[in-house]
């Protein structure tokens, strides 16, 4: 009995918390951006404007579910669900605390990489199915950008895997009891963070969207709840990358005094804020500059990091 109820409760709990957090992030981002840009942000609905998200949700749910007549209907509908599903799936392998984890997979890190690779389809298919020129350009950029940044994203994590000796997320967290991997794997962490920003299409790597050039890029033709799914998917992505950085490089739930869940939340929160700060401060590079940064700088650095980490492990025996 308990063996069925417990995992189900965890799954439902994780889904609920994630949806709430990513919706709450919309409020957080708008307030933080406003703070850094000398304005107020949403502060009218409820205390501190907290209910703004609720109001937006009601609005977006009650909007007409419109599909442009020229779009490829099945793919157009499918695309936004992919980004939600793949993001949610990845959270299955995250150990939030010693007791809360959906699936204790031995290939946890690989599972994340596989899911993130699948997530690209969402953007590409959305752009393709919209049959609009701006969406197409956005999708082309997305495909190129995400594929090239995925390459060194995987490589940047291999250092962590080598140090922990396992692909299992729980083992990786346990391996950080003495020293968080952000110290020995500092370059790996920086590379992973940059790749993570590119994977989530956030400034300065929001080229698939780049509203100044492509209107709204791949989701130009989307509206209503399907647009809402892309929106929430983006914030799920931010949460996911922040959670992964906390887990893989900052010891996950580990920490003194406070209970594990609090540590986990605090660490994740810091990186989420960092994402938002990036958006407030950076301009956007050009497409070719982005690609050459990925292939000419990031990839060699990731390989170098791998070689040096391997060398040190070998010498230490």
């Amino acid at each position: 009995m308990n063996s069925v109820v417990m995992p189900l409760a965890v799954i439902v709990g994780v889904l609920f918390v994630l949806t709430t957090v990513s919706a709450g992030l919309i409020w957080l981002e708008r307030r933080l951006l406003a703070l850094w840009q000398d304005r107020y942000g949403p502060n009218r609905v409820g205390p501190f404007g907290l209910l703004q998200v609720l109001a937006d949700m009601i609005k977006i749910f009650s909007k007409e579910d419109w599909i442009p007549p020229f779009a490829d209907k099945p793919v157009f509908v499918l695309a936004p669900t992919i980004i939600m599903v793949t993001a949610f799936m990845t959270f299955a392998v995250i150990p939030f605390t010693p007791g809360i984890e959906v699936a204790d997979l031995d290939i946890g890190v690989l599972f994340f990489l596989a899911m993130s690779a699948l997530g690209v389809y969402s953007v590409v298919l959305a752009g393709w199915a919209s049959d609009s020129k701006y969406s197409l350009l956005g999708a082309m950029r997305a495909a190129a950008q995400m594929l090239s940044y995925e390459v060194f994203m995987g490589l940047s994590l291999m250092g962590v895997v080598m140090l922990a000796g396992s692909f299992n997320m729980r083992d990786i967290v346990e391996a950080q009891r003495g020293l968080w991997f952000c110290i020995p794997q500092f370059p790996g962490m920086v590379l992973f963070f940059i790749a993570g920003v590119a994977e989530t299409n956030r400034l300065p790597f929001d080229l698939p969207e780049s509203e100044n050039e492509l209107v709204a890029g791949f989701h130009t033709e989307y509206s209503g709840i399907k647009f809402g799914m892309f929106f929430v998917g983006e914030y799920l992505g931010i949460t996911l990358i922040s959670v992964l950085i906390a887990t893989l490089f900052f010891g996950g739930w580990l920490g003194p005094v406070f209970p594990p869940a609090v540590w986990f939340f605090l660490k994740t929160f810091c990186f989420i804020c960092l994402f938002i700060l990036l958006r407030a401060s950076y301009p956007r590079p050009r497409y070719d500059q982005l690609m050459s940064l990925g292939w000419k700088v990031m990839l060699p650095l990731a390989l170098l990091n791998l070689v040096i980490t391997g060398g040190i492990i070998l010498i230490k025996g």
Binding site: Q37, N212, R279, P283, P285
Partner: protein, 578 residues
């Protein structure tokens, strides 16, 4: 030997007939068959040549009364050339006969004549022989008539009731359809099909209603076709209907970010026609307000420029600063963006109590903010990477295309009307003309950043040295007249009554005045027929020629570069379309 004698010696007195004007610009009437030769001589053969086609326009002369000493014509075409070496202008006019005259194109001499000649065709129905693409530019292609011809009504109501049946609506829609063949563009190259991307008229990157059709190979721009006119409000036609005084508020809305910088050349041109001298205090007030508006306009540019490159925050910072400028402007003018504050013969009223405190606060506030923008925008490596070497404009090309203002100075030419032809007492002020050599998007940004500081210097000098005295001339044509004496002297009462009810009657003549607006050389060319209204109001705006080079600058670059170029040029669609 001056240029008049030189031309008369070369082409004969009949082909170089001098006309009196109020502005002192040598104005010569030539004949239609000789006009190309005269222009060619001025551009290439004479020493210290007139290399810039500053303006090109036409006048419908058919109902003009006072034309003593001018050749008989139904229309005349006016070429306004500028020589940097001489620091002189020259105006060449050619008479055209008949209801539907035609004149040869000068696109072989200046490529920038392209849009100007299309405008003449659009506005006057004057056919331009040999023009490769003579189609409407400001009016919709479905428009009937040519608005600046005198028989075209100035009010919509005179054309009867407006209806838009469905078929008409569809016709208008389909007229906007882009057909590459109309522009001489192919649909493919080496077996690859091009993509035609319709950027605008409503697009986040175009700063107003500008339509650009891009011929794309992947993301590379093969060609760009600009479609303007969506913001056309017939400002020049309104000038022929409004009194000299009531036209001032319309000028505000030409470059709608620059307020009094538009009024400046207009009132200066009217004052030149009327022969009014301005008291010193009015001059300095005008300069101070102009520089405040220049700062304000450049702040908007800075924010949107960063925004175009994907940086979200600066636009909020600069708009906050802009509010500080508006605080001063509001206290002085009682209005923010379009204050209609300059008057013929002075300004609307005296400065309010405590104005200097506001200015002092602002002078203390802005420099620190500018340092910050220098760090977060100009020193940012991504911004540099996006703008350096992008949209490069060589100096020769810039002159060929009629580029003025910061965009010209970014190509390395130190040219500023405030310095080279000081008006309204600019020669009394200490300031520098910032220049840059590269001519790319980054150089244009650098020049504007420095101009902000120079404008602050001028404002500070205005604050410290504001002269005492009247804020308006006592000349009888100053409008509205000073009211102090009206209740005591019958002559002043009569003058006041006429000037307020009819508006001033400005003596017949022609005058142009060029000033340095926020975006470049801004000129009002006014023709008076001795009436309460202008006979012809020609507005030469800087943004019009600047937009025309965009295809040249963006060929071979990417869509993202085009947005960076648009941001760096700093144009305003109201300024382009008038």
């Amino acid at each position: 030997m001056n240029i008049i004698q030189e031309l008369q010696g070369k082409f004969g007195k009949a082909a170089a007939m001098l006309q009196e004007t109020r502005d002192g610009i040598p104005t010569l009437w030539t004949t239609q068959d000789k006009v190309c030769d005269v222009l060619k001589y001025l551009k290439t053969d004479t020493d210290r040549p007139y290399r810039m086609l500053y303006d090109l326009t036409a006048i419908d002369e058919r109902v003009r009364g006072s034309r003593q000493g001018q050749p008989d014509s139904d229309f005349s075409i006016v070429y306004h050339l500028l020589s940097f070496e001489r620091n002189e202008d020259i105006r060449i006019k050619a008479p055209l006969k008949g209801e539907r005259p035609s004149t040869p194109t000068i696109m072989g001499l200046w490529r920038s004549a392209n849009w100007y000649e299309r405008e003449i065709w659009d506005m006057f129905g004057i056919h331009i022989e040999g023009h490769p693409n003579l189609r409407r530019i400001l009016m919709p292609t479905t428009w009937k008539g040519h608005p600046l011809r005198k028989e075209h009504p100035a009010r919509r109501t005179e054309l009867g009731k407006f209806t838009l049946p469905v078929e008409e609506d569809e016709r208008e829609e389909s007229a906007l359809q882009f057909r590459p063949e109309d522009w001489g563009l192919g649909r493919n190259r080496d077996g690859t099909d091009f993509m035609f991307l319709n950027l605008g008229p409503h697009h986040t990157g175009t700063h107003g209603i500008l339509r650009i059709v891009l011929e794309l190979d992947g993301e590379e721009i093969v060609n760009a076709i600009l479609d303007i006119g969506f913001h056309h409000r017939a400002a020049e036609k309104m000038g022929e209907r409004q009194s000299w005084h009531t036209y001032i508020p319309y000028t505000d809305r030409i470059d709608y970010l620059a307020g009094v910088l538009n009024e400046f050349p207009y009132v200066l041109a009217v004052e030149k026609l009327a022969g009014i001298d301005i008291p010193d205090r009015a001059k300095v007030i005008r300069i101070m307000l102009s520089e405040l508006f220049r700062i304000q306009s450049h702040l908007v540019w800075l924010g949107t420029f960063a925004q175009d490159l994907g940086q979200l925050s600066p636009v909020f910072f600069t708009f906050t600063d802009r509010e500080q400028v508006f605080r001063i402007i509001e206290a002085i003018c009682g209005f923010r963006m379009h204050p209609a504050w300059f008057r013929i013969g002075g300004v609307a009223c005296d400065l309010p109590k405590g104005w200097d405190e506001l200015v002092k606060e602002f002078l203390h506030y802005l420099p620190g903010r500018l340092d910050e923008y220098e760090r977060i925008v100009m020193q940012n490596r991504i911004i540099k990477g996006r703008t350096r070497g992008v949209g490069v404009l060589a100096l020769d090309e810039a002159i060929e295309w009629g580029v003025t203002g910061p965009n010209l100075r970014a190509c390395g030419l130190e040219w500023d009307f405030r310095k080279k032809r000081p008006y309204s007492g600019y020669d009394q002020f200490e300031f520098d003309i910032p220049t840059a050599a590269e001519g790319d998007s980054y150089a244009r940004a650098v020049v504007r950043m420095q101009e902000l500081r120079q404008s602050l210097r001028i404002v500070e000098q205005c604050m410290r040295n504001m002269p005492a005295g009247p804020y308006k001339s006592s000349h009888p044509l100053a409008t509205p007249p000073l009211k102090g004496q009206t209740m005591f002297a019958i002559e002043t009462l009569i003058a006041h009554f006429l000037s307020v009810s009819w508006g001033p009657v400005i003596p017949a003549g022609e005058a142009a005045f060029s000033t340095e607006a926020a975006k470049g050389g801004n000129t009002y060319y006014l023709v008076s027929d001795g009436n309460t209204m202008s006979y012809r109001t020609r507005i030469r705006t800087p943004s019009f020629p600047h937009l025309q080079i965009i295809p040249e600058m963006s060929r071979g670059l990417e869509v993202a570069d085009l947005i960076a170029i648009l941001g760096s040029i700093d144009y305003i669609m109201g300024d382009v379309d008038r």
